[in-house]
């Protein structure tokens, strides 16, 4: 089992990347699956001029961070070992701790920390290149459809 994990992980990541690229909005934002498996996901996207929410600072709009966090949380749920058939966001709260630095890649890391028959509980952080100093944190509840 343990020997299979590395192989299964990269396989799952490749499948997940194809899955992400089939989502028009994720593709439009240039999302990339960096890691996926066992109820955890890492997805990143590049900074871009047209995503700026504050023209004075060049900081990306909070909505962009929301889209990345939401996608990453959903992917974490889908990768849970219990194998949910599909999922949808029930609610998502995002705390914006600081502005993401202009020009830097944004990475979301999500973890599905509890799952019932019908609901998945997820938490996530968003980071730029200064990884020790998160940009945003999220907590959410997602549906689990078997």
């Amino acid at each position: 089992m343990a020997e299979d994990t590395g192989m299964a992980d990269s396989d799952q990541t490749r499948i997940a990347q194809q899955f992400i690229e089939a989502i028009p909005h994720a593709r439009a934002l240039g999302m990339r699956v960096d890691a996926l498996g066992a109820g955890a996901a890492t997805i990143s996207m590049p900074w871009a001029e047209h995503l700026v929410g504050d023209p004075r600072s060049g900081v990306v709009h909070g909505g962009v961070v929301s889209a990345l966090m939401d996608t990453c949380c959903g992917a974490a749920v889908m990768s849970h070992p219990s194998g949910p058939g599909s999922t949808a966001t029930i609610d998502l709260r995002i705390d914006y701790m600081r502005s993401a630095t202009r020009g830097q890649r944004i990475t979301a890391r999500a973890e599905c920390y509890h799952l019932t028959r019908t609901v998945a509980f997820v938490r996530a952080v968003a980071l730029d290149e200064d990884e020790g100093n998160p940009v945003a944190a999220a907590t959410g509840a997602f549906t689990v459809e078997r």
Binding site: I23, P24, H25, D54, H61, M69, I90, D91, L92, I94
Partner: protein, 165 residues
């Protein structure tokens, strides 16, 4: 307030102030978000586009798009409400033609979205209500819908830090 001020001048002042607020934000242009104004009441409009889809099988709007739409509506409403008095008294008249000084926008502290229905591949609308606006902090509630005003797509509440100075 000058009761005799020509109507076209009032409308053009308000429309150009609103346009200065919205047109300075690249992300709003990219998503295609527009604002409809009736007096001081704003309705945000998100015209449907294929790139907004999050589930191509249903199809349904991306949850992140819905969140972004609600957050944007809250920020613009808050900035608009904050500048209304100055704009109407003639103290500050933001001008879309003068892009050197884009208006300072409130910063999101936290934002919580309740997803009530899956978003249809159609236009969406949203209105925000400033529940409390202090000197530093503000609390805003937002609702979004599609075909029927009473059948909400999503609602959200958020806290914001007001621009200082």
């Amino acid at each position: 307030m000058d009761r005799r001020e020509p109507l076209d001048r009032i409308k053009s002042r308000r429309d150009s102030a609103l346009s200065a607020l919205v047109s300075g934000v690249p992300y709003l242009t990219w998503l295609g978000i527009r604002f409809d104004r009736r007096g001081d009441e704003l309705t945000a409009i998100l015209p449907y586009d294929e790139k907004l889809i999050g589930n191509p099988l249903l199809p349904a709007l991306h949850g992140g798009v819905t969140a972004a739409f609600l957050e944007t509506t809250a920020i613009i409403e808050l900035a608009w409400a904050a500048m209304w008095e100055d704009m109407e008294s003639g103290r500050a008249v933001p001008d879309a033609a003068v892009a050197i000084h884009p208006p300072r926008l409130p910063k999101t502290i936290d934002f919580t979205v309740d997803y009530l229905r899956s978003g249809l591949p159609r236009d969406a609308y949203a209105r925000a209500r400033v529940v409390r606006s202090g000197r530093r902090y503000a609390s805003v509630q937002v609702e979004a819908w599609q075909d029927n005003r009473s059948r909400l797509l999503a609602q959200a509440t958020g806290h914001f830090l007001m621009p200082q100075g």
